[in-house]
């Protein structure tokens, strides 16, 4: 029974979901109330997770793990989801998405993500992924009147189901040849000579790569990002990536830790392909949400490059990267939600033209975000990339570092293009005044963090170091 003590966050969220559903069903027009309750619930859950953050517990016969890494990622998931709800409130109301299912589905997805980052068992992993994905499919098509949104939902669902199938097939192969679904037992019984096991490994990796939209399993990303309502897109860009990373770290470093040589080359390929495609394909985009999709693809490539090193520094660097990626995306999406004229939300990059004259502060914040995404010092994005490449060089993968840095120059081009449009192009009609507090606060906080991260980078490193030690 003492196992229960350590999964209070999960239990609490599960009960909250039921409670929130009840409130939603029995009260009419309950979107506001449910959203407030959900945010409140997030706020309560963060300290609950934090209480467990210093322990390292193996629960339920080693099938569920609560340690520093999972706690760090869970707090990140909760925090980013809270922001995603917080700064999209106005968008949701304006676009008539204010149905109480919205926050409830987000909460369900979060429960799935919690299971993903903590699970030490293939079945747990699969359950977590499905719980998360099914909620996300519905969220993507939340705007039922829009063909694009429904198309996005269906596309995401069909491809997601396929990848889940592949993942499940991989799990069954691994289970069949190692005799267990527990990561520790798999690690013990995994032999690299067994071709079927390697097949299983590859299929599992494909399934997970799909979830974090790494190349060549990225096809859904631009369409879903573009089609889904912006508030949902913002959520897609944040929490699911964190959870996907958590799952990948745990399965690669614990279940398949002994056969590092087998998966390293796969991961390097995925990482290089993501970096290159993300950088090159984004150049021609005119829709800012599509552009963010390609940008997230290339950022996943950098994150995976850290994991491909197989050393402690690499994991640390990846976790730092994903943290700063989340912060930068909060800022960028807050800016995207400001792009509104006469109550219509805009998505074309051209609409930003002359922003620096109409809204100098917003333009400045977005510029900070974009330079940081491009990895220009002294902004936080540079440090994130720097730690990754440091680990990559330490693992003697200098070619990977060179490719990564060159693609970062290519991707700098399209970030610069947005800055060019904001600063160098003639001004247009002003955007509507920013009335949402959520957007203002998220933008201010993320800009400050990105801008002044360089003053003391050690604080974040300290926490992440603690977190990443637990998988070694």
């Amino acid at each position: 029974m003492e196992n229960i003590n350590f999964i209070y966050p999960e239990i609490f969220i599960a009960i909250s979901i039921l409670g929130l559903l009840m409130v939603g069903v029995f009260k009419t027009n309950s979107f506001n109330l449910v959203t407030k309750l959900t945010s409140f619930m997030f706020l309560i859950t963060i300290p609950i997770v934090f209480l467990n953050s210093t322990v390292s517990m193996k629960l339920f016969s080693n099938n569920y793990i609560v340690d520093e890494l999972s706690s760090f990622l869970k707090i990140l998931i909760l925090g980013s989801s809270a922001f995603a709800l917080f700064f999209t409130d106005q968008y949701i109301k304006k676009n008539k998405l204010d149905k109480f299912e919205y926050p409830v589905l987000i909460t369900t997805a979060i429960l799935g993500m919690f299971v993903m980052v903590s699970s030490n068992n293939l079945i747990g992993l699969y359950l977590g992924i499905e719980l998360q994905s099914l909620s996300l499919y519905v969220l993507a098509s939340l705007n039922r009147d829009s063909t694009k949104s429904t198309e996005a939902g269906v596309k995401y669902f069909v491809l997601g189901a396929l990848s889940s199938g592949l993942l499940l097939y991989g799990c069954s192969l691994v289970y069949g040849f190692t005799g267990s679904t527990n990561y520790y037992v798999i690690a013990e019984n995994f032999s690299a000579d067994n071709i079927a096991l390697l097949f299983g490994l590859v299929f599992i990796l494909i399934g997970l790569a799909f979830k974090i939209s790494a190349v060549p399993f990225h096809m859904w990303t631009p369409d879903v990002y573009e089609g889904a309502p912006t508030s949902v897109t913002a959520f897609f860009a944040l929490a699911p990536k964190v959870a996907g990373f958590g799952a990948i770290i745990r399965i690669l470093y614990i279940a398949f830790g002994n056969v590092f040589d087998e998966w390293q080359s796969i991961l390097i390929f995925i990482s290089v392909a993501s970096m290159i495609l993300g950088a090159v394909a984004a150049i021609g985009q005119t829709n800012i949400k599509r552009l963010m999709a390609y940008s997230s693809i290339s950022h996943m490539g950098y994150g995976l490059a850290g994991l491909a090193t197989g050393i402690n520094e690499g994991v640390t660097a990846s976790v730092i990267y994903i943290f700063l990626y989340v912060v930068m995306n909060i800022g960028s999406f807050a800016c995207i939600l400001i792009m509104k004229r006469k109550d219509i939300y805009l998505e074309n990059i051209r609409d930003l033209s002359g922003l620096s004259k109409n809204h100098p502060l917003v333009a400045f914040c977005l510029t900070v975000m974009l330079f940081s995404l491009a990895g220009i010092p002294p902004l936080a994005g540079f440090f994130a990339k720097f730690y990754i490449f440091m680990a990559v060089v330490k693992a003697d993968l200098i070619i990977l570092a060179v490719i990564g840095l060159v693609t970062s120059v290519i991707s700098a081009f399209y970030y610069l293009r947005i800055i060019k449009i904001m600063y160098f192009d003639p001004e247009q009609e002003k955007f509507d005044p920013i009335s949402s507090k959520g957007v203002k606060i998220s933008l201010a906080l993320s800009t400050l963090l990105i801008l002044f991260y360089f003053l003391n980078p050690s604080i974040l490193n300290f926490f992440v170091n603690l977190a990443s030690k637990s998988v070694q």
Partner: protein
């Protein structure tokens, strides 16, 4: 004395930025206040840098005013300091910035507040580059300078400003990422990025070649060396006057400084090995870009190409590996910093009146602007290296230095002197002499008070340095001597090892 003077000099402009930021109201008034605040800040920085120079001990070669603070735990310290090589660049930066600010007052017409912010941020980054004694810190400042410069070219530039800004940014960034990999690799091999510690250390020879190339990629773009110089003419032409001045006077010097400090200091064997490469690229730069400069129709473009040629002298001098060569290079950089700044300002003077940079639109300017013609003449002569001006000292020292190591290189480099006379004088002749063909030229007014104020200190310096070069040579000689002797010792040990 425990005053952290270098940190103060580096970050003081940011405090100015802070004050400018909180200025709101009418555009006109804000522009004026921003101008005064930024001028005051930059003058204060200049005074402090002079104070730094006077309290600098010229007799020792080690780093002075060193400050060390914890920054990223277990990895990088915040460490700054100056020696004879870097201190003058700090002073040069602090000297050029107020001039740019004054020049801006005439040439920038809109969004003045933003411009001054960009300029002051730029100053911090540039001083930071010359002060930092940690590779990571150096890279940080080196790259961060791209952001304000990109905005300066892109917002306040000419017609093709977007193209120029992108080219500038992407070229430099691509070069620099190779340096970043090299820095990471050095850290992995030695466990430190502290420049002082690294200079004392021998980096294994087998790594030196690749690392040298990594640094070279970055510095060659920034210098700029042929064939990666093409961003410079575009950036120069499109940037507003003060942007061009900053680019020519200081940004290019970061690379020269980097060559001396890092390429020579950290990788002596590789520097020796690759010196033929540097020589050939520099000679091509000198001869080829001089010829290209001859046929230019745009005044700024001509000066931009002449900058490439002059920087060719600098790289040749550095890789001559003797004290004359390196001292000459540093002198040439400082002199070129002053002269090219002055030339761009001179072009700016007529550009503000005529709004054209085409040489053919001018002619006979000396008839209507006699004072301007005199000032312009002196700077043109300094640019082509006439004895008695600062340009001469640098060139002759570089030629002496290279003559000691390689006759052939010296021969080709010397042709550059003649070629530079050709294009400089032809520029001057076409602009200032001859009949007045353009009616607009007739209406030109001579230089006004504020332009005079900007150009006079530059004029005095050009002549002063030409007549009494010891002002600079005194400061740099000890550090350069020690650099050369350490270099020679390292090469000698390596050669002994090879013989064994």
């Amino acid at each position: 004395m425990n005053l952290p003077i270098l940190t103060i000099i580096t970050f003081l402009p940011l405090i100015g930025v802070f004050f400018i930021l909180f200025n709101k109201g009418e555009e006109e008034r804000v522009g004026k206040i921003s101008f005064h605040v930024s001028l005051l800040t930059s003058l204060l920085v200049f005074v402090l840098s002079l104070f730094l120079w006077f309290s600098f001990d010229k007799t020792i070669s080690s780093f002075q005013f060193v400050e060390e603070k914890k920054w990223i735990i277990d990895f990088v310290k915040y460490k700054v300091g100056v020696d004879g090589i870097s201190i003058l660049f700090v002073v040069l930066t602090a000297f050029i910035t107020p001039i740019c600010i004054v020049a801006t007052y005439n040439s920038v017409k809109f969004r003045k507040k933003d411009f001054f912010i960009a300029l002051l941020v730029m100053e911090t980054m540039m001083i930071g580059v010359f002060c930092s004694l940690d590779l990571f810190l150096f890279y940080l400042f080196f790259e961060a300078g791209l952001i304000p410069m990109f905005l300066i070219i892109g917002i306040w530039g000419g017609i093709r400003r977007v193209y120029a800004a992108f080219k500038f940014f992407l070229y430099t960034l691509l070069g620099s990422v190779f340096m970043l990999i090299a820095i990471i690799f050095i850290y992995m091999q030695t466990g430190t990025t502290d420049v002082e510690a690294l200079l004392a250390l021998d980096i294994p020879v087998q790594y030196q070649y690749l690392l040298w190339l990594g640094f070279f990629a970055s510095f060659a773009v920034k210098t700029p060396m042929w064939p990666v110089h093409t961003w410079l003419p575009d950036a120069h032409v499109e940037a507003p006057t003060s942007g061009s001045v900053i680019l020519a006077a200081i940004l290019l010097k970061m690379a020269g400084y980097g060559f001396i400090r890092f390429s020579l200091g950290l990788f002596p064997v590789a520097s020796d090995f690759f010196s033929p490469l540097v020589f050939s690229l520099s000679i091509i730069a000198i001869v080829y870009t001089s010829l290209v400069a001859l046929v230019q129709k745009d005044m700024k473009k001509l000066i931009a190409y002449s900058s490439v040629a002059h920087m060719g002298f600098v790289t040749i001098g550095i890789f001559a590996f003797n004290s004359q060569g390196i001292e000459g290079s540093i002198f040439q950089m400082i002199s070129h910093g002053i002269v090219s700044a002055a030339l761009f300002l001179c072009v700016g003077v007529v550009y503000d009146r005529m709004h054209t940079r085409q040489i053919s639109d001018y002619g006979g300017v000396s008839n209507v602007m006699p004072n301007y013609a005199i000032v312009f003449m002196i700077f043109i002569l300094a640019s082509l290296g006439l004895p008695g001006t600062s340009g001469f000292v640098g060139e002759i020292l570089v030629l002496i230095g290279i003559f000691k190591t390689n006759y052939l290189v010296a021969f080709f480099a010397a042709t550059g002197v003649v070629l530079s006379a050709c294009y400089s004088l032809s520029l001057y002749r076409r602009v200032c002499f001859g009949e007045i063909t353009n009616d607009k030229v007739k209406a030109l007014k001579d230089i006004n008070y504020s332009e005079f104020i900007i150009l006079i200190p530059l004029l005095i310096l050009v002549i002063l340095l030409g007549v009494y070069p010891n002002i600079i040579l005194d400061t740099i000689s000890t550090s350069v001597e020690s650099l050369v002797s350490v270099y020679n010792a390292k090469i000698a040990t390596f050669n002994n090892l090879m013989i064994k």
